[in-house]
């Protein structure tokens, strides 16, 4: 070997096409619903048609007698079913009602499981569901958070409808508001959303003797394994959880579900492997929902726009029960309402409330979209009140580039950021000043189609999370991540990650990290994930944590491989270890013999182990677990131009510019894709999506015909760009990108709509801003006398 190896192209920052695609575009994917096993039988659930009712009897005998039916059970048949876990008791006095996977006494939302049938195929199972007789005694539903705490309200649980109250603050909030020249209060509704991953949930459970394997369309195989062991008394060493190819999650598969637990229990009871796959309408009724808050926001400011104080009071709908992180979701927003702005004081209160609706839990952004919407809408309203350009108001209040690191009023230390640079780039791409001029012209001419400009200068906290911080917030687990690297004898590499991908592109990005660090070809690396037997340790994928925690763990594992290989190289190159250098996959002795050795040669020599230095273990394999010291803080400036037809209420997005700063990008192609998808979901909240219950607590949006996920025809083309301010708190300089688009875009769109019609006297339009709602708001403003 000579030392004259050309430096390979840097892998970091390279838009590699994805390794994952080959199986996905050819139909060779392994979705959970594809799995077949000898003797496999199918489960189907009988679900409550009432929002709230006492179960007086369940009779499964007719179902059990049907041809092809193996078994049928009600909740009382499973005394061992226990209670589904909530890992986040946010206050010492939080009310945590029991949550049996199958209801036995009372049902508290439409869709709650009351019985299960097991049959030879899914058609026979569906038939048998119809034969189960359940008698109910209806009870009054609880559907409005705003009246749920009244004395006269019916109770969801015997303990009442209040789940918790969590307060937080910093600075003298009374002083900030006292004598403030400008005080503004706004009330916003975060509507209920259905996450709607394209792959419906599916589960397969199979026992062999005392060992169980659970395949599930889950984001969290490791957490699920722990939960089955800790809460359902199955010895942890006997549980294997596999997340095969998983078709999207967006938080909806960050859960320990009734169906997963029951699949395990039923499979044991019937002595055969069982499968359950939900239909979309069953999923809309039972997969946890997202958002659902009422926000009361008060802001105090000086005449020049300087923020003095911010006070936030939330009502957060828990739904009928607490699921894995239900109560914690709104609190992730507690640290984000202040966003990128400086202020003297901040106060936050959140009251969690039970209703007879599907439980809420994490949905893309989880707490941070709510906070960003609240503050960014409020900033626009304040600008209007002050007669100031909303961008100028933001500029006057945001943390300046030279002020980083900066500890915010909410107590987080933002390590890095450059709001000026991202905003300047966005303003340029958008043509901000030209659009403002056009807006003026169209206002002056009374054009029925008005132009509006919406701004969202956002940040978020990613990289969940420092374990110590999670502990201080009463969360039940840590926030570290694990990775290991195995050098195979032929010089190829196996990477094991605890971060469980479901569309994010880990196999590609992780290969790039290893190729960059170890200098091995991208193609020679295989990334393994999503199976607790293959990858025994992990905290899984959510909260934009994969790269910022899992990627950094992998970086650490690579460093350990290099350190071990250096010792072995020193023997081969006959130089002391401290004189061995490593670059681009090649070890060489500094200033010495000129001899070199590739990492692949070292891998083979380690495998043979014939001539290793004394006392050296014959292995390069390395594992690292990384627990972050701090969150990461991606940020960006999003600008949206909408055209609003004041005669029909129709809104169309004319242009959308997203400039994001996610730190260093390992793969810009994947980063851009994440932004695109995030934008679509955030825009969908602004314009299209809402889970609607009727007055009896029936979900009206059970299908994709009623719950309007946008199609390609409903969405605009996006202009995206990045600024790059590396994170200083991790060695890769990365910040996370999975949720940024969703967090930023909702207020950008709604601000743009309001900006188009504010001069007509409209001050708010509840989401989703459908043509009817926009039209009604414009009409109401006109009837009440128009502009103020």
């Amino acid at each position: 070997m000579t030392a004259e190896t050309a430096a390979p192209a840097a892998e970091f920052g390279r838009s590699r096409l994805r390794k994952e695609d080959a199986r996905l575009i050819t139909g060779q994917t392994n979705w959970t619903d594809n799995i077949t096993l000898p003797g496999l039988v199918h489960m189907a659930f009988v679900r409550s048609p009432f929002a709230h009712a006492r179960i007086t009897s369940v009779d499964v005998s007719a179902a059990r007698a049907m041809p092809g039916v193996i078994a049928a059970f009600s909740g009382v048949d499973f005394p061992e079913q226990g209670s589904l876990p909530c890992a986040w008791p946010v206050t010492p006095d939080i009310v945590m009602p029991p949550h049996p996977p199958m209801a036995t006494e009372e049902v508290r939302y439409v869709g709650e499981a009351v019985a299960v049938v097991v049959a030879r195929d899914r058609y026979a199972a569906a038939d048998a569901v119809e034969a189960v007789q359940v008698e109910y005694e209806p009870l009054p539903p609880v559907l409005d958070m705003r009246t749920a705490l009244d004395e006269s309200s019916p109770k969801v649980h015997p303990q009442g409808n209040k789940c918790f109250e969590w307060v937080f603050g910093n600075g003298d909030i009374d002083a900030a508001f006292r004598d403030a020249p400008v005080v503004l209060e706004r009330n916003y509704r975060q509507q209920r959303l259905i996450p709607s991953a394209m792959e419906p949930r599916a589960v397969v459970a199979a026992w062999v003797a005392d060992e169980v394997t659970l395949w599930s369309a889950t984001q969290i195989p490791h957490v699920l394994r722990f939960a089955l062991a800790a809460f359902f008394a199955i010895p942890e060493q006997n549980i294997r959880v596999i997340a095969p190819d998983v078709g999207g999650g967006f938080g909806s598969k960050l859960q320990v579900t009734a169906e997963e637990v029951l699949a395990v229990l039923v499979a044991k009871r019937v002595g055969r492997p069982v499968k359950w796959t939900e239909s979309r309408s069953e999923g809309n009724l039972t997969v946890h929902h997202g958002r659902d808050q009422w926000q009361r926001i008060r802001v105090a400011a000086d005449h020049d726009g300087r923020l003095r104080g911010l006070s936030v009071d939330l009502l957060a709908n828990m739904g009928a029960y607490l699921m894995l992180v239900t109560p914690g979701v709104p609190l992730l927003g507690a640290f984000m309402f202040n966003s990128i702005y400086k202020m003297d004081a901040y106060s936050f209160r959140c009251t969690g409330i039970f209703t007879t609706e599907v439980p809420t839990d994490a949905y893309r952004g989880a707490g941070r979209p709510e906070a960003t919407f609240g503050i960014e809408r409020t900033m626009d309203e304040l600008a209007s009140e002050l007669g100031m350009d909303p961008m100028e108001l933001r500029r006057r209040n945001w943390i300046k580039h030279e002020e980083f690191p900066f500890t915010t009023i909410a107590g987080l230390t933002y390590d890095s950021g450059n709001y000026e640079a991202a905003t300047a780039r966005a303003v340029e791409l958008f043509g901000y000043h030209d659009l403002r001029a056009e807006q003026e012209r169209r206002r002056a001419s009374g054009d029925p189609v008005q132009l509006g400009i919406g701004i969202s200068t956002f940040t978020e906290m990613c990289g969940l999370a420092p374990s110590r911080v999670l502990g201080s917030l009463s969360y039940g687990a840590g926030g570290w991540e694990s990775a290991s690297v195995r050098m195979l004898p032929t010089g190829k590499v196996e990477v094991v990650t605890g971060s469980s991908a479901h569309g994010q592109g880990h196999e590609t990005a992780w290969s790039q990290i290893v190729a960059e660090k170890l200098g091995v070809p991208f193609e020679d690396i295989r990334v393994l994930h999503g199976d607790t037997q293959v990858s025994p340790k992990g905290m899984d994928t959510y909260g934009s944590r994969s790269l910022t925690v899992g990627g950094v763990a992998l970086n650490g594992a690579c460093d350990k491989v290099i350190a071990k290989a250096k010792v072995i190289a020193s023997g081969m190159l006959e130089a002391p270890p401290e004189e061995i250098e490593f670059a681009h996959g090649v070890f060489s002795a500094r200033g010495g013999s000129g001899k070199t050795s590739t990492i692949q040669e070292i891998a083979l020599a380690t495998f043979a182990a014939h001539n290793l230095p004394d006392g050296v273990e014959p292995s390069l394999d390395s594992e690292a677990t990384y627990d972050p010291d701090n969150f990461s803080f991606p940020h960006g400036t999003h600008l949206c131009a909408t055209e609003v037809d004041t005669e029909t209420g129709e809104v169309s997005i004319r242009s959308y510019v997203a400039v994001d700063d996610v730190g260093r990008a390992v793969n810009p192609l994947i980063v851009e894709g994440q932004v695109h998808g995030g934008l679509a979901q955030g825009i969908a909240q602004a314009l299209f999506e809402e889970a609607v219950y009727d007055d009896d607590g029936n979900l009206l949006t059970t299908t994709l015909a009623d719950y309007l996920i946008p199609s390609a025809a409903d969405l605009p083309s996006y202009i995206t760009d990045r600024t790059e301010t590396p994170a200083t708190t991790n060695p890769l300089g990365v910040k996370g990108v999975g949720e940024a688009g969703t967090i930023a875009s909702t207020p950008a769109v709604v601000n743009a709509i309001l900006d188009a019609v504010r001069h007509l006297g409209v001050r708010d339009i509840p989401m989703p801003c459908t043509p009817e709602r926009v039209w009604r708001a414009v009409q109401a403003a006109r009837e009440s006398g128009g502009a103020r």
């Binding site: 575009i25 058609y123 394209m198 894709g673 979901q681 994709l704 996006y718």
Partner: protein, 156 residues
């Protein structure tokens, strides 16, 4: 039970099926053609789109008995002699998929779109694919992929 004869990805099958059996379940559970997934139960999402006698259909909205005598192509039969179809290549090159669940249906719908309109505008692509939902990509790169496949001239 009804007897049907169907050609799927070049292989002819004869089977007795329940009259109510959906084509997608026949493909997935009787023939093992699991490359075609199911995303909804109201024919809104399009994940299960296949070609039936040269036109795209949502296989959750077709009974297996209605496919009697038909020639079906699924995503698993699209590549020829190990060579990806230009749309498969374009989806890969333009990063038009993330989780990949909608991808088989999206590609099969796009094949039909380009068959009927070989040189669509961006708006025609968006409207042509509005029966196929994607939750990951925001459609930007799907539109780019179809455009780029059209530019390289797809016939199928």
């Amino acid at each position: 039970m009804a007897r049907i004869t169907v050609t799927v990805d070049g292989v002819t099958y004869s089977d007795d099926v329940e009259p109510r059996l959906l084509l997608v379940h026949y493909l997935r559970e009787r023939l093992g053609k699991t490359g075609t997934p199911i995303g909804c139960d109201t024919s809104n999402c399009g994940a299960c789109t296949v070609q039936m006698d040269g036109a795209s259909v949502k296989s959750c909205s077709v009974l297996a008995v209605q496919a009697d005598g038909a020639d079906i192509t699924t995503i698993q039969g699209l590549a020829q002699d190990g060579e990806w179809h230009p749309l498969q290549r374009a989806f890969h090159e333009q990063h038009a998929l993330q989780c990949g669940y909608c991808t088989p249906g999206m590609i099969m719908a796009a094949v039909d779109l380009l068959r009927t309109n070989p040189h669509p505008t961006e708006q025609e692509i968006r409207e042509g694919l509005e029966g196929n939902l994607c939750r990951c990509t925001g459609y930007e790169n799907i539109v780019r992929a179809v455009k780029s496949a059209a530019e390289t001239g797809v016939t199928s």
